[in-house]
């Protein structure tokens, strides 16, 4: 079983600026093996920026240590090869290709480095998402919002990542589908995948996560075990509210 004392990802003093505007300043964060860590915060707090910088899509200052070694300049292809995968907010599917081809391309980096086990991985993903198997020959562009999100997650899992980063997986989805997505996130942890989850749906995210960070205007404002933050009056007031109780149901 995964040992949560081993860290998979450790970032220290990570800063990103767009021109003179600093979108993320000196953020530090740790994800342990087999853990779900969530970053919550309002729109524009720099959550997506942080994920992009860790992945190497954006230039950044600071240190990103992944799986025991430090990348001075993270480079997307290299991070993928080393077992990090990002499911972006916009999904970025190959919309004029079939579901199966989308999944297959998720295994590109593994295939390139000589690991040709994509057929087995695909079966595993089909058991996780039976819906995708039904639709495997359909073009990705014709899928519904929830199915697209499943495909985006499935495609990332084809790379058998050590760390999966999910950017707003529940965005724009109907409540029942959101529930399904969170069920899958919990299931992935059982399979030993470490997850860094960025969410606006704070209640559901805190429910499923082990540890949480609150990002506000580019800085880590608070952090702690997820259940502890869920009871913190400041978090309740700013992110959970009293009327939002039904949201927690989504993660059960």
């Amino acid at each position: 079983m995964a040992n949560p004392n081993n860290t998979v990802l450790e970032i220290r003093d990570l800063s990103v600026s767009y021109g003179k505007v600093e979108a993320l300043s000196n953020a530090s964060l740790t994800v342990g093996e087999g853990q779900i860590v969530t970053v919550i915060g309002p729109n524009g707090a720099g959550k997506t920026t942080m994920l992009s910088a860790i992945m190497g899509v954006l230039e950044s200052k600071g240190q990103v240590a992944f799986d025991g070694s430090i990348e001075v300049v993270p480079e997307v292809e290299r991070m993928v090869a080393r077992g990090m995968n990002l499911v972006p907010e916009k999904r970025e599917l190959f919309s004029e290709m079939s579901v199966e081809d989308n999944l297959l391309l998720g295994a590109f980096q593994r295939y390139r480095s000589g690991l040709r086990d994509h057929a087995n991985t695909m079966e595993e993903i089909y058991t996780l998402f039976p819906r995708l198997k039904e639709r495997r020959s359909q073009l990705a562009g014709t899928l519904s919002g929830g199915e697209r999100q499943m495909l985006a997650v499935g495609r990332a899992l084809m790379a058998k990542p050590k760390l999966l980063m999910l950017d707003e997986p529940s965005l724009g989805l109907a409540p029942l589908i959101v529930r399904e997505i969170f069920r899958i996130i919990a299931e992935l942890r059982r399979r030993g995948v470490s997850i860094l989850l960025v969410e606006q749906n704070a209640r559901a995210a805190l429910q499923v996560a082990d540890y949480a960070y609150v990002l506000e205007t580019g800085q880590i404002a608070m952090h702690g075990p997820a259940h502890q933050l869920a009871d913190d009056p400041r978090v309740i007031e700013a992110y959970l509210g009293l009327g939002g109780k039904h949201q927690a149901m989504l993660a059960t």
């Binding site: 992945m55 899509v57 997307v76 292809e77 993928v80 090869a81 995968n85 990002l86 972006p88 916009k90 999904r91 970025e92 599917l93 190959f94 919309s95 004029e96 290709m97 081809d101 297959l104 391309l105 998720g106 295994a107 590109f108 980096q109 295939y111 390139r112 495609r155 990332a156 790379a159």
Partner: protein
């Protein structure tokens, strides 16, 4: 017009159309994956044909030294950062492809009796010299500006084209060359005499088109190129690096160009600057397909071929004018029929 003449013109049109189709496919492919309008495509045609002519004359082709030079440049550009990043394995790979390969080829060319080699071996050698210049060119010219706007990529393409034409004059001189046909056989079909070379051109083009189709539909690398064309960000997140996709695309484009040159060298005299006009007709065909559709581009190429051969019969002085004027109604029709989509920034 008499029927046999019309048949002959159709046959001519198909032969040329097959070549234009290949070039049009290469142009569409390069544009889809890298957003580069590949004007130097035609230079690969001329380099292929003239390199083959030099081999057949028993001379070590001067293009070999360009290959060596580009190889040295790529080794420096890619090798130094690899060394700094402490990845000597990568340096070895870079140097192997870009230094050892050209030098090995040079050694091979200096020992084998070029003139007496079988024709197919000469063709293979010509391709072995010219085709690697495609990925090298991508690395040196386009990769550093891969995310630049389309217009800048186009301007750089024009510069690359002019440079290659100039170097072509230096390498091959101003005289044109014609190589012997691959087949002297003539197929007698009643009123029509089909020369073997025509059959070779059509057969090779068809084979290549089918092979390309299989590559894009069936192999993971082919799918990766299509994925890059569809969604650059998505492809990158799968670990498909844009520079790998670019190099692979330019390899295919250079291969198609050089092969087209080798195919047409027996039916037309090729000069150092002939390639441009040929590729431009391929470009007209690609435009008919909106620079995005492979089947439409191939059909367009056949149309261009027919138009060219019939107009050379009726008004041979105006044949280029007629072919290139075709682009105006096509552009009009396309702009009226398609909605304008903003370029993504």
């Amino acid at each position: 017009m008499e029927f046999p003449i019309a048949l002959m013109l159709v046959q001519d049109g198909i032969t040329n159309g097959a070549i234009y189709a290949l070039l049009a496919l290469a142009l569409v492919l390069v544009f889809a994956v890298t957003r580069v309008i590949f004007i130097p495509q035609g230079e690969f045609v001329a380099y292929g044909a003239l390199t083959l002519a030099m081999l057949q004359a028993g001379v070590v082709p001067t293009t070999l030294w360009l290959l060596v030079g580009l190889g040295v440049a790529v080794t420096v550009v890619d090798g130094v950062p690899a060394l700094r990043a402490g990845r000597p394995g990568r340096l070895l790979g870079v140097a192997g492809w870009n230094l050892a390969y050209p030098l090995g080829l040079a050694a091979l060319l200096s020992v084998v009796p070029l003139q007496s080699l079988p024709q197919l071996a000469q063709v293979a050698l010509a391709l072995a010299i010219v085709v690697p210049m495609g990925p090298q060119m991508y690395r040196l010219v386009y990769q550093p500006i891969a995310s630049a706007p389309i217009l800048i990529l186009l301007i750089v393409s024009v510069a690359a084209h002019l440079t290659m034409v100039g170097m072509g004059l230096l390498f091959f001189g101003a005289e044109g060359q014609r190589t012997p046909a691959f087949s002297e056989a003539v197929l007698d079909l009643g009123p029509l005499m089909v020369p073997g070379q025509t059959l070779v051109i059509v057969a090779v083009s068809l084979t290549l088109i089918v092979a390309l189709f299989q590559f894009f539909e069936r192999t993971l690398y082919g799918k990766a190129l299509r994925a890059t064309a569809m969604n650059r960000v998505g492809a990158r997140l799968m670990g498909i690096s844009p520079s790998l996709a670019g190099k692979l695309t330019f390899f295919l484009a250079a291969f198609i160009g050089a092969l087209s040159g080798v195919l047409i060298a027996p039916i037309t005299t090729v000069y150092y600057d002939t390639g441009f006009l040929i590729a431009l007709k391929g470009f007209v065909a690609a435009i008919i397909g909106g620079l995005g559709s492979y089947p439409l581009a191939a059909l367009g190429a056949l149309l261009v071929g027919q138009l060219e051969s019939f107009s050379s019969f009726w008004a041979s002085a105006y044949k280029e004018v007629i072919v290139f004027t075709l682009i105006i109604p096509v552009l009009l029709w396309r702009s009226l029929n398609s909605r304008h989509v903003e370029e993504e920034e």
